[in-house]
């Protein structure tokens, strides 16, 4: 019983991290039609910003990281994506690859490619005893952050003016412009929201692992991308579900795989994803949200 509860908490906390990543990717895909492969690199920039500002009181560190990421996301949109706004999805994707590599190797030049370690929010890595079950503080933080942020984002999209403008741009960008929606403003808002998700992932990632390389974004991007595809490309609920599913699979395999096979865990995770997509090519909740992108 304890083992089961422990497993569920682990799965939900890892899944939450993946869900946040997937939502960040899915949001931009929904509003801009862009699969942003540089998203994981935003998370990496957030992690290094935490490393550089670790001396401050922790909320200040997080605030600085958030501001840096908002500026990075807006700059990425302005410099890289806006000039190719009307290009094909393939072109957009290649631009995002180029951006991803540019960011990664800029950071290699600045910080080297070796892992850096940092002790951020040490209180979070202590274990709490709740009803006889040991839970890492980080796990609770991950679960709470996922719930709060997903809820806040859903409310933002549902109830605010920019929110329904986002939904309109997602459904029909030309018509949105024809009713006077400032499409660049709406897209900028989407990038800001995705930057806030990214900085949350940075904080949780650093608090949990305490280590970083300039390449940490790659794995996250792939997992986030896979989660959005599983969820049914684009629907935010689908992204969250997909993230939790990948997290669940990862945790399950960590528990179930013999030690010899542990290094190949990702192969099993993605193998399961391939199987699932063979069975449901449109993603998990394709029916409800077949045409809804955010």
């Amino acid at each position: 019983m304890d083992l089961l509860v422990q497993f569920i908490i682990d799965a939900v906390s890892v899944g939450g991290l993946y869900a946040l990543t997937a939502i960040g990717i899915g949001l931009i895909f929904g509003v801009v039609g862009l699969v942003n492969f540089a998203y994981g690199d935003f998370v990496m920039i957030g992690a290094y910003t935490i490393l550089l500002t670790i001396g401050f009181y922790w909320p200040v560190t997080i605030l600085i990281a958030a501001l840096v990421l908002i500026m990075v996301a807006l700059a990425a949109d302005f410099v890289a994506f806006r000039p190719v706004r009307l290009a094909s999805p393939e072109t957009l994707m290649i631009v995002s690859f180029a951006l991803s590599y540019t960011i990664q190797y800029t950071y290699v030049m600045m910080f080297g490619s070796l892992a850096r370690t940092v002790n951020f929010l040490p209180a979070m890595s202590t274990n709490l005893e709740i009803m006889g079950i040991r839970i890492a503080g980080v796990s609770i933080l991950q679960i709470v952050a996922t719930i709060v942020l997903t809820g806040a984002l859903a409310a933002f999209i549902r109830f605010t003016r920019i929110g329904y403008q986002m939904r309109a741009v997602s459904e029909n960008p030309t018509m949105a412009r024809l009713v006077g929606v400032d499409i660049n403003k709406v897209i900028a808002a989407a990038f800001i929201a995705s930057a806030l998700l990214a900085v949350t992932v940075s904080v949780l990632y650093v608090a949990q692992t305490g280590t970083m390389t300039p390449f940490l974004g790659l794995n996250l991007t792939i997992i986030g991308f896979v989660a959005t595809v599983i969820g049914g490309m684009g629907s935010l609920v689908g992204c969250a579900l997909g993230g939790f599913l990948v997290g669940f699979l990862t945790t399950l395999l960590q528990l179930a795989l013999p030690a010899d096979l542990q290094p190949f865990r990702e192969a099993f995770v993605f193998g399961a994803v391939v199987l699932m997509l063979l069975l449901r090519p449109g993603g998990l909740i394709m029916l409800a949200t077949a045409r809804e992108r955010i």
């Binding site: 329904y164 309109a168 459904e171 018509m175 009713v179 006077g180 929606v181």
Partner: protein
């Protein structure tokens, strides 16, 4: 004095010329219809005025401003609203959100609330549908919503593209009743219709467009009496057109 002054407008899609030097005017408060067969270039003209399509040649003057090359959003701000052919309402948004998004260029809360009320009076079928997703509306309700959404930007020129398309006659009646009310309130309207009888029944003047060229311009009466034109372009006997204009 004309509100909209289109001169020598030419629109080209690849090798296909959709418009070849079209000139039309709309005066303030005037309802002008563009009628003509499929592929005549009617929709292209509206698209060029709205800024969706960039013309190859010609000028589009609106209240003294040149619209060619102006971004879509600025054209909306200048006072032009388009209701496109397939209505293009936002199906995932609720009806009320569709109306609110029509006011994207405005920030006057009170005025926006008043306009929503006014649109409810114009199309009494709409208000009870406000909380519903717009995708669940019938074709006629969607058309009324699309017109309402366009009105939310407080346009000085309303462009309607085939408002009767795919609607049952009784529903078309309701839509055209709304158009008549707008006309009575002094709204300038540029109306594209394949249903010439309907169009001639509400307009002050009509332009007959075919293969990208204006072939005839006149009042509904003048067009009705040019029976050969009706026959040539619509296959409509002239007495039917005359009835429509009465």
């Amino acid at each position: 004095m004309s509100l909209l002054k289109v001169q020598g407008l030419a629109v080209q899609y690849g090798a296909v010329a959709a418009l070849q030097g079209v000139s039309i005017n709309v005066a303030p408060g005037e309802v002008v219809a563009l009628i003509g067969p499929n592929g005549a270039g009617k929709t292209s003209l509206l698209s060029a005025v709205a800024g969706v399509v960039r013309p190859r040649a010609g000028t589009i003057g609106f209240d003294g401003q040149e619209l060619v090359g102006m971004p879509i959003q600025k054209i909306v701000r200048a006072g032009i609203a388009l209701v496109p052919e397939n209505r293009d309402i936002f199906t995932k948004l609720t009806v009320i959100e569709n109306l609110l998004i029509g006011a994207s260029t405005r920030n006057d809360r009170d005025g926006i609330a008043q306009d929503i009320e006014r649109i409810g009076e114009l199309f009494p079928a709409l208000p009870r549908l406000f909380p519903r997703p717009a995708g669940l509306l019938s074709g006629g309700e969607q058309q009324m919503l699309a017109i309402g959404r366009a009105l939310m930007s407080r346009p000085r020129l309303l462009m309607l593209d085939e408002p009767s398309l795919g609607l049952a006659p009784v529903v078309t009646d309701a839509v055209f009743a709304g158009i008549r009310t707008l006309r009575a309130q002094g709204m300038a309207i540029l109306l594209v219709e394949q249903n010439a009888v309907r169009a001639l029944s509400v307009c002050d003047r009509a332009h007959l467009l075919s293969a990208g060229i204006v072939h005839f311009t006149g009042t509904p009466d003048e067009i009705a009496h040019a029976g050969d034109i009706d026959a040539a372009y619509f296959g409509v006997p002239s007495d039917v057109a005359a009835q429509g204009s009465a």
